[in-house]
């Protein structure tokens, strides 16, 4: 009797360990079963899968041979499960983006734990054919925690929905109770997070501002921000709105009811789910519909062709060049940032900023336009701009190993942004230029082309190139070679750690390195 109990405990524990990795990936895929499946398809190596399958078949055979045979061999199956569980758990441990133990994850763990424990205890207590069946199911679940993961996801759906609804209603109530509060919605395929920070800083010259932190741009992220940080004295809530599917922006708008909108761009982002840029446009302009329903004002990027071609006439455009009501002129830039004249509906004010890159200037103009609309004085806008610091990991200039310069652009993940970052790198005259990047992901059909373009752009600017991920970097390498890059100066690293080792070996204080788009583990290979 001792062995089967031990085996049962091992199986439950193994299931638990295996789940850590599965929940990590489920979480990184925003708890969407379909996206999690896609990850599973792309990331389940054949050999261990075959081995696991073989063990499961063995377990079935043993079960069919009778209760006693099964009980005698169950320890072996549990040990196999433990081995894979342990391996999976350690994969989470060494990841860049680890599993976050949210209340939801804890609920799923609890469900899975109770389920497997019940299978084990009942299996042992009942015995006989039914007991053997229950124990076999336990063995299968502990060897394939993927199934357990999906089981807990679906079983807890109704619970999660009622939790979510309670939080959403609570957030709505809180928001509507604050006297005179104005909500600004920001969305866009790229630039929205930077613009959010810039706008919040400028608005803070005149108002008490709350903004969604980091990349909290999902409905539940917004709800959490409101419930945890909204104060009675908040005057403006700047709400970043992210979208991966049609209707996502509307869902957030239905919670916060924005009075003002800022649309930073419409582009080829998340095409795996959006399919077409037309769908991206429609989704981003759900913000427009919501703001207009409240009689508010929407600003949008006038440099973006898709926006200019499709937006309604009452959208106020801003741009990096003359032609709109809000734009910049006389732009000069260098190692310490950019200087330019900001034109706000005819009023001109000189500004300087530490932010690197033309797209940042465009974000500044968009934020300044909205702040101007909200009554912040041009001179206060200029002061706030001069005090801006780069967002973490977005073209952030730092000193790195051996006194070299690092342009940390690790959070950048869009094609235009990456090419702009390469341009920024190019502006560092007279220095040895290096790029470290694994390329871009989630771009659908265009992924190969975009990465090839990045590879060739980097080739034209860089003295040395370090690509990360052997398989991933194939299009990058092709692009670089096509642009005539000398392969002696090109390195392929299997991880960022290795890339930094390669870099450290040759860099000096006259080196500037662009770190472009670090990816969570589910993409690296």
């Amino acid at each position: 009797m001792f062995l089967p109990i031990l085996a049962m405990v091992i199986a439950v524990v193994s299931g638990f360990l295996g789940l850590i990795r599965q929940y990590q990936m489920l979480q990184q895929n925003s708890y969407f079963a379909s996206r999690y499946f896609r990850w599973l398809k792309g990331n389940t190596p054949i050999l261990p899968l075959a081995l696991k399958g073989f063990v499961v078949i063995l377990a079935f055979l043993a079960a069919m041979l009778g209760e006693n045979t099964f009980k005698e061999s169950i320890t072996l199956f549990a040990a196999v499960a433990l081995y894979f569980g342990w391996r999976a758990a350690s994969q989470n441990g060494s990841s860049i983006k680890k599993l976050v133990y949210t209340a939801r994850v804890k609920r799923m763990f609890a469900f899975s734990f109770v389920l497997t424990l019940m299978l084990g205890v009942l299996g042992l207590v009942i015995g006989g054919i039914i007991g053997t069946v229950l124990l076999t199911v336990l063995v299968v679940l502990s060897i394939f925690p993927e199934i357990l993961c999906l089981l807990s996801l679906f079983a807890l759906k109704p619970v999660e929905i009622s939790y979510a609804n309670y939080y959403i209603n609570d957030a709505k109530k809180l928001l509507s109770s604050v006297y005179g509060i104005k909500v600004v919605g920001i969305t866009g395929s790229f630039g929205k997070t930077s613009t959010k920070y810039i706008l919040s800083r400028i608005l803070s010259e005149k108002f008490n501002v709350l903004h969604t932190p980091e990349s909290f741009n999902t409905p539940m992220g917004v709800v959490r921000t409101i419930r945890e940080s909204l104060k009675a004295d908040t005057e403006i809530f700047v709400c970043e709105m992210g979208a991966k599917n049609v209707g996502d922006i509307k869902e957030i708008c239905d919670i916060v009811h924005p009075d003002f909108g800022l649309i930073t761009s419409v582009g080829a982002q998340h095409l795996e789910t959006f399919k077409t840029t037309d769908n991206v446009f429609k989704t981003k302009f759900e913000l427009y519909d919501a703001v207009k329903a409240k009689g508010g004002v929407v600003f949008a990027n006038g440099d973006n062709k898709i926006i200019v071609d499709n937006a309604n006439d009452d959208v106020i455009l801003y741009s990096s060049d003359a032609g709109t009501k809000f734009y910049a002129e006389n732009i000069t830039s260098g190692r310490n940032g950019a200087n330019f004249d900001l034109v706000l509906n005819g009023e001109k004010v000189a500004v300087s900023t530490k932010l690197l890159g033309r797209h940042n200037i465009l974000n500044i103009i968009g934020a300044a336009a909205l702040a101007y609309e909200l009554g912040v004085m041009p001179e206060d806008i200029a002061f706030a701009i001069s005090r801006l610091t780069p967002t973490e990991h977005r073209l952030e200039l730092k000193t790195s190993v051996k006194g070299s310069l690092l342009i940390d652009d690790a959070y950048n993940a869009n094609p235009e942004g990456c090419l702009e970052a390469v341009n920024v790198l190019n502006s560092f005259d007279g220095m040895q230029k290096v790029i470290i990047t694994p390329g871009l992901v989630e771009l659908g059909d265009k992924e190969f082309e975009c990465n090839k373009a990045l590879g060739s752009a980097a080739a034209k600017v860089c003295d040395k190139i370090i690509f990360v991920g052997k398989k991933r970097s194939e299009p990058l390498v092709e692009g670089a070679k096509e642009a005539g890059f000398n392969t002696d100066n090109m390195y392929i690293a299997s991880s960022f750690m290795e890339a930094m080792e390669i870099y450290t070996a040759f860099c000096n204080e006259n080196t500037v390195v662009l770190l472009e788009n670090d990816l969570p583990d589910n993409y690296l290979k």
Binding site: S177, Y179, G180, E205, N208, V209, A232, D233, R387
Partner: protein
């Protein structure tokens, strides 16, 4: 959810009663649609109480009854919030803590207006209306205030200044120094009191000795300056912060005794209609002076405000020597009686809007500070190891 404003008034100060009047006026004028108000009355021995009845000035006539009925409270920080905590909680009649968003000190004089209360609020991390610790403290010490004005090239009357014990020891010496350097008539002031308490004019030595005796009974430090014989006192209020501020129309208070005494400021009409604070003082608004002079004084007022690093609403009192037409900065009230609302109403800014503006200025100062510090994220202790194993990587 409205912004909750804690009006703090009273305190251990000779101007305790004046503060109550100023606070009640302010609480009654605040825009109730936008703000929730919490009155926090600080007794003369420093205890805090709150009560709904504190909106009515009549309640303060019977102080014992008011206190007996009011709830003893304190302000503490819990988690992210600064809250008003009730200290008399009974098991079944528990009063819920009130989250405070901003404090509005309406206090006059030492032990509160001089940076004391401001320091307490800074320590709690609660945004507050008005001058910060430094400007409050400097504004309260008439001597240090003069030094700061001198350093900023702003016109002040020369003065001598000494401590009570110095005077007890070297009485004759200090008096002859004053006679020589300042000359009669002189004004003697305790350095750290507002509302003219303890200030007297001396035309001869006997009067000077009496004046100093009175002054040292209020303060350890005494200031003596020359009394301008042909004098007009002109006051100007300034609202804003060091980034941008504006000056009100000017007032000229009427004087009973040669200088504006405490009685003039706060007691003038008290017998007939109840004390109404600064607002009831007999005065002329706007002051009857030339456009040019008025513009000069208003400009000067803004410079004083900036030189001190003030914030919120202040009243700056000037002396005009009518013989020479020269203007001197006399003193600043960092929390003026009645918050100078009567000067702002005369400048076409209604009291409720003035209060609204003052509260936004409090938040603005707070935001400016947050903007300064919120990018520093390094824990210097993380690189340090203590003890015998050696301080690897330590720079200390």
């Amino acid at each position: 959810m409205k912004t909750t404003v804690a009006f703090i008034f009273g305190c251990r100060s000779v101007e305790h009663e004046v503060s109550i009047i100023s606070a009640v006026q302010a609480m009654r004028s605040v825009n109730k649609e936008k703000y929730d108000i919490v009155p926090i009355y600080v007794t003369k021995n420093g205890e805090m109480y709150t009560s709904e009845k504190m909106y009515e000035i009549e309640s303060f006539r019977d102080m014992k009854a008011l206190i007996a009925d009011a709830d003893p409270v304190t302000i503490i920080k819990t988690g992210k919030d600064v809250v008003l905590k009730f200290l008399n909680n009974k098991m079944f009649a528990k009063k819920k803590d009130i989250v405070l968003n901003v404090a509005f000190p309406v206090v006059h004089g030492t032990n509160c207006e001089d940076g004391t209360l401001q320091g307490y609020l800074e320590f709690l991390g609660l945004p507050y209306v008005g001058c910060d610790i430094l400007s409050s403290a400097v504004g309260m010490d008439k001597a240090v205030f003069k030094y700061v004005m001198k350093a900023a090239d702003l016109p002040v009357l020369d003065c001598i200044c000494f401590y009570a014990r110095e005077y007890a020891k070297n009485k004759e010496e200090l008096i002859s120094k004053a006679e020589k350097e300042i000359g009669y008539p002189m004004i003697v002031k305790p350095v750290n009191l507002g509302s003219s308490v303890g200030i007297t004019k001396a035309n001869d030595k006997n009067a000077l000795v009496d004046a100093i005796d009175l002054a040292v009974s209020f303060s350890d430090k005494v200031l003596i300056e020359h009394a301008v014989s042909a004098i007009r006192e002109i006051n100007c209020s300034v609202v804003g912060d060091t980034d941008s501020c504006e000056a009100s129309v000017l007032e000229e208070p009427f004087m009973n005794d040669e200088i504006l005494s405490y009685e003039d400021k706060y007691m003038a009409n008290s017998k007939s209609s109840g004390s109404k604070g600064m607002a009831s003082l007999s005065r002329k608004i706007p002051a009857d002076i030339s456009e040019e002079k008025s513009a000069e004084i208003r400009e000067l007022a803004k410079k004083v405000f900036k030189a001190l690093g003030a914030s919120g609403v202040v009243r700056i009192d000037f002396i005009v020597d009518t013989e020479t037409d020269k203007v001197y900065v006399n003193e600043i009230n960092t929390i003026p009686g009645s918050l100078s609302f009567y000067l702002w109403e005369a400048t076409k800014l209604p009291y409720s809007e003035l209060l609204d503006k003052l509260i936004s200025l409090a938040f603005r100062r707070n935001r400016n500070r947050e903007n300064l510090t919120f990018t520093i994220d390094t824990n210097i202790l993380s690189g340090i190891s203590f003890g015998a194993k050696g301080a690897k990587g330590s720079k200390m």
